[in-house]
Homo-oligomer: 379 residues x 2
DNA sequence: GCATGTTTGTTAGTAAACCTTACGAACATT
DNA sequence: AATGTTCGTAAGGTTTACTAACAAACATGC
């Protein structure tokens, strides 16, 4: 019953005023127990009571519900080296639910997978989009989702979608130029068609969620993706920053240099004119002997764009995603150097930049994290 | 009983795992009713039920508690132009509680006041600090607070403090150089000494809360204060951004130009070297004929520092605080121009910079907003 | 060996919070 | 005057988490 949030989501369609009913408190406490067991497996009911502040009686009741839902299992008792009755250990069962994840961010290609609650991939599938856009692209997405749902071995907790473009709180794609989508109610349509909970998020936002959920990222984190363009996902206090117009993270069109190259967006000297994969490859091919210098120059520009943000938000971790042969070398080193020089202060820790360890699965894993977080309250 | 959050705060000392008990849900719903009445006075119980999704029965119960606490009053019935029984209108009573606010941000001076729940000042008091620091400064703060509490005409809901320096979640001042405070448990000591709820926040963070609560500011907002130094408070999705080391908003030490003037912080070309009040006055006095150009130059630098942040966070509102003769003119215009040029995009609204309408009371009103928000859940 | 103390998890009963159902009061309309 | 609508309240039920008490299972001390 824990995942039955449909009534609740229905009550809060627009993130408006939030009432709390007894059942909402119950769900919160169920999530809390589950989160505690994710953070530290092999806890007893008494341990959970001590950590959460709830009584052992209440914990027993909550755990019983989780066991009935097959989300938690008893895993033996402690070897008795202490006085008192041995404790029965509890652990999360990650193998009783599946999550279907879709990544729409690649050009001309849909990627999808079936994942366990821990982010292990069970099945994978792709679909060539060709030049399909608009309604045809939607049909392909829905079809791929249905195929993956059919392939799942366990009950599907929900479907997560990471898409390029701007996404509002209802999961509608406001604008995604590559797919020619405008105000497409992706979440609602998929949920109706698939009869499952569906959650849609911008690809960069999904990716930063993945860094936190599956790569031990902290609560304050920026993840920059270097692909055809440059985009970022921001996590502040564990929450994704969406911004006033759902356009947060648009670091690609931050102006670095008034006198820089014109950008299709109309401004001059946007970060993207230095840092996108096509522009980098072009510069490296044009002068192979100075390829490293081109990468370092791009890294410095990235550092210049990031430093004010890092300084203002006081965050210490930046993760870069993109082709490792481009990102993990002079580019990363130069960006790190600039950011360190410009943000160093006695009042705060050092800022670390690193390459993402999630490879090309970041968006898919982010979709998994999104579903897990909303359906189970676990992040 | 609504303000009796002491037990609750005691349960959550470090913002750790949050359990939900029935009483927590009740408090949430009481806050929701109160917030609705703040947003729109003259609502009936039935109106509240429709807006919150709670039943009329529950709303009646909640309202009865608020009336018993003298936080809400019935204010007549609707003129009957509709069928059905006329509705009894409800409104917030802002005159039954006082809030004591303290501003420690001015050099050598403590400012304080007694305020209504709506932010109307009832009493004011100041205290000259002279060169007092450390324990002497604390004693003066506690003394001023006690004096204001004694002057209050209504029960005091709590004491809010806006202080320079970094403040952690427990209200301890980690470091405030001007006052020579290090790890001073300000909130805890004042609460014990005054026997009232006390809430401490960084001055810039308090000020941005005030813009939202008392100057109709939006949920995403940056407020930049130009004084001896330059600091900012950030509001994202209605929450204050504190950062990993409680050092968010340090825009004064964002590096604008590597080759710039050395800054006491050790870096070169920090924003503060152009934009602080002392440095501005100095430049204007040095060449009075080009005073406007000095202001415009500072404004451009501010725009350069703000643009990446605004672009990344996708926020549309920036409020400037500081001496109007410096801020409200060429400086503001130049900053507006740079920010507009660098952040304009089809995907988002225009960014507006404006001078704060709160004058020198911003921090005090922020302390009021802080107490009101934590004690009553109203913002 | 056996009593004692400790820790775990459960049972029984209670208080709080919100819900559904039902009803009287007060109004406009027919 | 009868009917329908809206408002607020009353009564009773369900859910949730609490306190108190207890049995089970262990280590320790005599």
């Amino acid at each position: 019953m824990h995942q039955g949030r449909s009534t609740n989501s229905h009550r809060h369609p627009g993130g408006g005023p939030r009432t709390t009913r007894p059942e909402d408190g119950r769900r919160n406490n169920l999530s809390l127990v589950l989160q505690s067991l994710y953070d530290e497996p092999q806890l007893s009911r008494a341990d959970l009571a001590r950590r959460t502040g709830l009584t052992r009686v209440t914990i027993s009741d909550l755990v019983a519900e989780l066991i009935a839902d097959a989300l938690v299992a008893e895993t033996g008792t402690t070897a008795g080296s202490r006085p008192g009755k041995p404790a029965t250990m509890l652990s999360v069962r990650a193998d009783t639910r599946d999550i279907v994840a879709l990544d729409l961010s690649a050009p001309r290609l849909l990627t999808g997978g079936v994942y366990s609650l821990r982010g292990d991939q069970r099945h994978a599938a792709q679909r060539d989009l060709g030049t399909a856009t608009g309604e045809d692209a939607y049909a392909a997405v829905a079809d791929l989702a249905a195929q993956l749902i059919a392939a799942a071995d366990n009950p599907v907790l929900g479907v997560g979608v990471g898409t390029p473009g701007t996404v509002d709180r209802q999961g509608s794609v406001i604008a995604a130029p590559n797919l020619a989508w405008h105000n497409l109610a992706l979440q609602q349509r998929l949920a109706t068609q698939l009869d499952l909970p569906v959650h849609v998020e911008n690809d960069a936002n999904a990716a930063v969620l993945a860094e936190r959920a599956f790569a031990a990222g902290p609560d304050n984190l920026i993840r920059v993706q270097i692909s055809r363009g440059v985009g970022a996902g921001l996590l502040i206090a564990g929450s994704v920053v969406t911004g006033t117009s759902a356009a947060a993270g648009e670091i690609g069109h931050v102006v670095i240099d008034y006198a820089g190259t014109p950008c299709p967006c109309g401004k001059n000297g946007c970060l993207e004119t230095w840092l996108s994969v096509p522009s980098l490859r072009e510069r490296m091919a044009a002068d192979p002997d100075r390829a490293d210098e081109a990468l370092a120059e791009a890294g410095r520009r990235l550092g210049i764009a990031l430093s004010p943000v890092v300084g203002m938000l006081d965050l210490n971790d930046i993760v870069l995603g993109g082709p490792a042969d481009l990102v993990d070398g002079p580019l990363l080193a130069a960006a790190q150097e600039v950011v360190t020089d410009r943000t160093h202060s006695d009042f705060r820790g050092e800022v670390r930049l690193r390459l993402s360890s999630l490879g090309s699965d970041a968006v898919l894993l982010g979709a998994v994290a999104l579903v897990r977080r909303i359906q189970l309250g676990v992040s």
